[in-house]
């Protein structure tokens, strides 16, 4: 059976040694509780829960799936009990305001816990994950009374939440949505319409479910400027905060999916359900976008999760599976054959997963620290800077990491040979579960348009410059360290090329807007490889420094350096092919007549 062990040494390395999180928390108001010993204790306990409670349920969730029966959804065996334990542990309250029952810890610490919870069991992690989205929305835009009624119950974990956006005819383009909200004499609204793909929309894990719903008021303008945000609880709360009358919202069915079987993906029918407006009318989408980056970062995490899960298990297998002899002569002469880890191509599969998981961890944590700063920094300029950097990194992290997370999951399966295709080993589940991450929270293609169109070109390259400057400064700061040259030289070159490529595409786009779309995914992937190269260079720099200082843990730092080298020599050269394709123009995509695709 596949297993998960939280890679705490590596998590500590990125947090403390690369990103200096101690300093980061000390400089943020209200984060003084997050001292290194506290962070370590929280990580340790989160790891126990992920390893011992959630990881053993991952395969159960896939095999049993959720069952739908007459509006009721039953989650797989053990899911409900695990959620109960999660609530008793106080985990839902981690990053929320103490005024509403939260622990007031920084969001980045929550992301750290989510990494372990999500890697151990992604399907399960989505139930509290969606609640977190609903909580963030209520915390930012709800009235005090709404917070008292709903937020406190979500923070304690007694109730869970959802985000209801998608409708059958509109996913990416929310301007088309039709769900209506009719004002009532008592100030509430009657919400009617159908929402689909609602994760955790119905289940048996909590007493009540709080839906955050996008809908239109009767006099709303067309398009995205006419969308408002509503709270629609499954059961209407009683005056004393308990669970009251059943509301007019019900689950019509659940989807049969390729993966994440343990999570219920629901069709939700709203039939004149009582709802309550959150935030100003017609500003629903703006309210929702407050946390879009955080939510997308949560999905980026899924790329890391599947890479890590695949890596850990395929590594164990590669060391145990005896088959063939090493090309350079037997390595385990006393055994029937050598373990397959002796073969270069098996190592390539393993190292790719390792480089993506560890590099991805650094990218996620770096982004998570920007979330903290964007919300909590005292200086408004620092807040704005962090917000800008987060906005730039989000589409890269989301699309690039989930694409490579899927690739890594496939490599994990590949290491097992034919056994990878057999369910029992858990590797094919990992591939299936990872596939959704490139679709929801904006597909790779949408993220690419967001990056190149909105974030880079619409700011006249400012957002990009902000980041390339950071990379440039890093290269400058270590330019006199001889052993760093093998990393800094290529990184510097790519960092310059990044700007030049952007200029070239920008020029072409002035003639033809399709040039943006045609270059976008290649551009995003290129950006991803360069961003990860920057983080690998930073990790290599720390490793070299520690080795030079001779502070011990030599094997760990050596492995870091070797993996950095692998990344620079085996993965980073993919940028060469991406440069060629991204500059090849829109014509090779647009020239074929729509009617001629069939020939």
């Amino acid at each position: 059976m596949p297993e998960y062990k939280a890679p705490q040494r590596d998590m500590q390395f990125v947090l403390n040694e690369v990103l200096d999180v101690e300093n980061h928390y000390q400089n943020l108001p209200g984060c003084d509780e997050a001292t290194p010993d506290m962070v370590a204790a929280i990580m340790e306990e989160g790891a126990k829960f992920a390893e011992r409670v959630l990881s053993p349920l991952n395969q159960v969730g896939d095999q049993q799936g959720c069952q739908f029966n007459d509006g009721q959804v039953t989650t797989p065996d053990g899911f409900k009990e695990a959620y109960q334990q999660f609530v008793e542990g106080g985990w839902p309250s981690l990053a929320h305001d103490p005024q509403w029952g939260g622990q007031g810890l920084p969001e980045s610490l929550g992301i750290l816990i989510n990494e372990m919870v999500g890697t151990a069991n992604w399907s399960w992690s989505m139930y509290p994950g969606l609640s977190h989205g609903a909580m963030n929305t209520l915390e930012a835009h709800g009235t005090d009374q709404q917070k008292q009624t709903y937020l406190t119950k979500l923070v304690s974990g007694e109730w869970t939440g959802t985000m209801c956006l998608t409708e059958p005819h509109c996913g990416t383009d929310l301007g088309m949505l039709r769900t209506k909200a009719e004002p009532q004499a008592d100030g509430s609204y009657k919400v009617s319409g159908t929402k689909i793909f609602i994760s955790a929309g119905e289940h048996d894990m909590a007493d009540n479910i709080v839906h955050i719903v996008l809908a239109r008021l009767p006099d709303a303008p067309e398009g995205t400027k006419g969308i408002s945000l509503f709270i629609v609880p499954k059961f209407l709360p009683t005056a004393d905060g308990g669970v009251g009358e059943r509301n007019g919202v019900s689950c019509g069915s659940i989807e049969h999916k390729m993966g994440i079987h343990g999570n219920s993906t629901c069709v939700m029918n709203f039939d004149g359900a009582t709802g309550f407006l959150i935030g100003p009318p017609n500003k629903g989408l703006n309210c929702m976008f407050t946390f879009m980056n955080t939510a997308r970062l949560g999905t980026a995490l899924q790329g890391l999760a599947h890479a890590e899960w695949g890596f850990q298990n395929s590594l164990t297998y590669a060391k145990e599976r005896l088959q063939m002899r090493s090309l350079t002569g037997p390595k385990a002469p006393d055994r029937a054959a050598d373990p397959i880890i002796v073969h270069p191509e098996v190592r390539k599969l393993l190292l790719t997963q390792k480089a993506i998981a560890e590099g991805g961890r650094a990218l996620i944590y770096l982004s998570a620290l920007q979330v903290d700063k964007a919300h909590m920094a005292e200086d408004p300029a620092e807040r704005a800077e962090a917000d800008g950097l987060l906005a730039f990194l989000t589409p890269i992290a989301k699309a690039f990491l989930t694409e490579l997370g899927f690739e890594s999951a496939n490599h994990g399966l590949q290491v097992y040979g034919g056994h990878g295709y057999i369910s029992e080993w858990g590797m094919e589940q990992n591939v299936r579960d990872s596939r959704i991450s490139m679709l929801y929270e904006g597909t790779t293609q949408i993220q690419a348009l967001d990056l190149l169109g909105r974030k880079v070109l619409m700011t006249q390259g400012e957002a990009l410059k902000g980041f390339t400057k950071i990379v440039h400064k890093f290269c400058q700061a270590h330019s006199d360290e001889q052993p760093m040259q093998e990393f800094l030289e290529p990184l510097n070159k790519l960092n310059k090329e990044w700007g030049e490529l952007t200029m070239k595409i920008g020029m072409k786009a002035m003639q033809n807007r399709d040039e943006v779309g045609a270059a976008s995914v290649d551009y995003l992937m290129y950006s991803g490889y360069v961003t990860l190269a920057y983080l690998w260079a930073r990790m290599a720099q720390v490793a070299q420094q520690k080795l030079a200082a001779g502070e011990g843990d030599t094997a760990f730092y050596q492995a870091k350096l070797t993996t950095a080298r692998f990344y620079f020599q085996r993965l980073l050269p993919r940028t060469r092919s991406l440069v060629e394709t991204m500059l090849s123009g829109a014509d090779n995509l647009m020239a074929l007549d729509e009617d001629h695709f069939q020939f």
Partner: protein, 249 residues
């Protein structure tokens, strides 16, 4: 009723143990450390007694360098009320540990002292017994059940032949076995509260105990690596090998 729990910092039971290249000791540099599993069970038992309204205060102590405060905090996060660290440069051996605990017992006057039956690093299984001798208290070792009635502790012990129940007059000493309970997970709010709970630091010298080594560690060697197995063609061959090569029958 006050309960004292003494806990030890040991290497995490999930960690693969490495021996130093000069064979002088186990290599602990950058190794993940944790609360000794039997001590964790001892803490859990004390916290359950408090939750049941039997104990009024749970005090947890540990002996060693500053790093042992981590394990004291872990115990505080599980529900202990306050901590005591007896600061020493190295980890003293069992008799010194028992003497130090006996000093704390003298100061704190607990009605019940719970320890793990042994630590998973040195596997000595003697501190609880030594402490009983030093304090003159009754001992219930290898406990799989503890019940407090009036002024007595009824302790079910896991002995070779099965289970034995002893009644101990309080104050008494209990050492926990594996099946005494299943320790809980610390909750997030309790981890945060643990940091604010009082933790006193005292030195061994302050307690008037001289730390003395009665044993000398000569050499540490990893167990011999497992040899590859062989396939035998027949039952006769198997019996022959068991008789003449392995010499087990």
């Amino acid at each position: 009723m006050k309960v004292l729990v003494a806990v030890k910092r040991v290497l995490d039971h999930n960690v693969k143990v490495r021996v130093k290249s000069d064979h002088s000791d186990v290599d602990l540099t950058n190794i993940k450390m944790a609360l000794n599993p039997f001590c964790e069970i001892a803490v859990e038992e004390a916290v359950r007694l408090k939750e049941a309204g039997i104990a009024t205060e749970v005090v947890v102590m540990s002996i060693g360098p500053k790093a042992v405060q981590e394990q004291i905090r872990t115990a505080l996060a599980l529900g202990a009320d306050r901590g005591i660290q007896i600061e020493t440069d190295t980890m003293p051996e069992s008799l010194s540990v028992a003497k130090l605990i006996a000093k704390v017992v003298e100061d704190e006057r607990p009605s019940l002292i719970i320890l793990g039956k042994q630590a998973i690093d040195s596997d000595n299984n003697q501190t609880g017994q030594m402490l009983a001798a030093l304090t003159g208290m009754g001992q219930g070792t290898f406990a799989s059940d503890v019940e407090i009635q009036d002024n007595e502790a009824l302790v079910t012990r896991e002995v070779d032949g099965g289970l034995q129940t002893v009644a101990l007059r309080l104050p008494a000493i209990v050492t926990s076995d594996l099946r005494l309970n299943e320790p809980r997970y610390a909750s997030l709010p309790n981890i945060m509260k643990a940091k604010k709970k009082p933790l006193d630091v005292k030195s061994a010298a302050e307690l008037g105990i001289e730390l003395r080594a009665h044993t000398e560690l000569l050499k540490v060697e990893p167990p011999a690596e497992r040899q590859g197995g062989i396939k035998v063609a027949s039952v006769e061959e198997l019996v022959d090998k068991l008789k003449n090569e392995a010499k087990v029958i």
